[in-house]
Symmetry: C2
Subunit: 243 residues, 2 copies
DNA sequence: CGGCGGCTTGAAAGGCATCAACATAAGTGG
DNA sequence: CCACTTATGTTGATGCCTTTCAAGCCGCCG
């Protein structure tokens, strides 16, 4: 049995809460959620709250004390800050089944704000409950380490690649994370604008545009509005590795 | 009781093994080790092996299957690779009490090689034993998440800072990680050459030299050979944040 | 239909890398 | 312990990659 609580006037999020109280019929997002098999599983008495964030809505938890992890069940999140010069820095993107909050464990507080790149459903889990869940489900322990380990590798390429390599790596990364099964020939709607991609990759919008145009011209991708079709994953792979 | 095994002819490391068989008197490095309180604690039957790596010696585990975590008990490690153009990329540095191997969990194999920046003592722990240790010591669970969370934040500044900011952040980072208690006025021997710093920060050796010279000239640090004295941490902090 | 945000393309500026030459330190062997 | 060799650090000149600035285009939404 799962326990779902909500506060009608949630000061932290002030968002519509999807979950009905003490529901015994799991929501679709729970069934699909990679944590569902743990949450829905008999023993653990975990209180979770689901939130819906509309596109561009924010989770204002910057500087707040760390207490919860947020599982992305649908949509996409960015964690970001505005630096002293007023420029936006996107620190990380979080897609379906990825968890926001690990970075805050160490510091004890959330350092950055979060915003939804598209309509997004989040599941808030208390960190202490998360730990409890792990105690009760040994295989959840290694699953969690896997996720965290994955995040250690995510976007490490931003540290050492040049503009062209970054964009190639980004395209491949997005395809891998959003469509883990299929690859070549697959269509994908870019999760954010070129400007946002630039903030993430630390490139000017113009640079992102120029490079994507070139990839299109070279036949590595097809791109129309934000619909990207991966035509030649190997070529992008090669580019991202420096030929 | 702790169980310490070793294979006299270790094909993986071929290094001198410090640990005597089934020792009941813990080694000095174990007593100081941040994991000592768990390892040395009664119940857990953990097999660990200690290795000594001389400066510049490598842990050749690139492409090997992931099985072990390595706790740095003394010295410093770098994980690195040589890219297609023959340039070295340092992915991460690991100092005392930090753990090498988390990144490999997700991939199932070690992607990079490791080398000692100075004479280093490592403690090898089987991942499965590590998980077992966590099951038996609940407080070890949150401790491990803390370490991993810390690593998520480590060196994230390499993604978005310019040369001057990177060097300032690096100096502060090294002081924080090697001398967590004291700060200003403290001396520290840089753990590696300017070239290595450059490989890590993705800057040319010349750039590192120029910027450090400038910091010295501005009175933010004193530096002689590789002895760095932190004179004005606030100034460096400000520089790293872009004034 | 008009306005606005997002994308595109060109020209100029700037930051950092590269190349080169030299200085100094560290390591090696006699 | 010295002489030699090699590695590491310093400083200046030049060039390239990416940013910045500017202007125009396109698609979307009210």
């Amino acid at each position: 049995m799962i326990y779902k609580f909500h506060r009608l006037k949630d000061n932290e999020l002030k968002r519509r809460i999807l979950m009905q109280k003490l529901s015994k019929t799991p929501l679709p997002t729970c069934v699909q959620c990679s944590f569902g098999s743990f949450c829905l599983d008999g023993e653990a008495k975990i209180s979770t709250v689901q939130y819906e964030l509309k596109k561009k809505e924010t989770l204002n938890i910057s500087n707040e004390k760390f207490r919860n992890l947020y599982i992305v069940q649908k949509g996409a999140l960015k964690s970001y800050e505005i630096d002293l010069n007023g420029n936006e820095i996107i620190h990380e993107l979080f897609f379906k089944n990825e968890i926001y909050g690990y970075e805050a464990i160490y510091k004890g507080s959330y350092l950055f704000s979060c915003a939804a790149l598209s309509d997004t459903v989040l599941c808030k889990v208390k960190y202490e409950d998360f730990l409890k869940l792990i105690q009760e489900h040994p295989r959840f322990l290694s699953y969690s380490f896997n996720l965290m380990s994955r995040q250690l590798n995510t976007a490490s390429y931003l540290k050492y690649l040049n503009a062209q390599q970054k964009v190639a790596a980004f395209i491949l990364d997005v395809f891998n994370r959003l469509l883990p099964d299929k690859k070549e020939g697959e269509k994908l709607l870019l999760p954010c604008s070129y400007q946002q991609i630039g903030y993430y990759l630390r490139l000017a919008t113009e640079t992102v545009s120029r490079i994507l145009s070139q990839f299109k011209q070279d036949g590595h991708i097809a791109i129309h509005h934000k619909q990207v079709t991966l035509l030649n994953a190997n070529a992008l792979e090669a580019i991202s590795k420096g030929f």
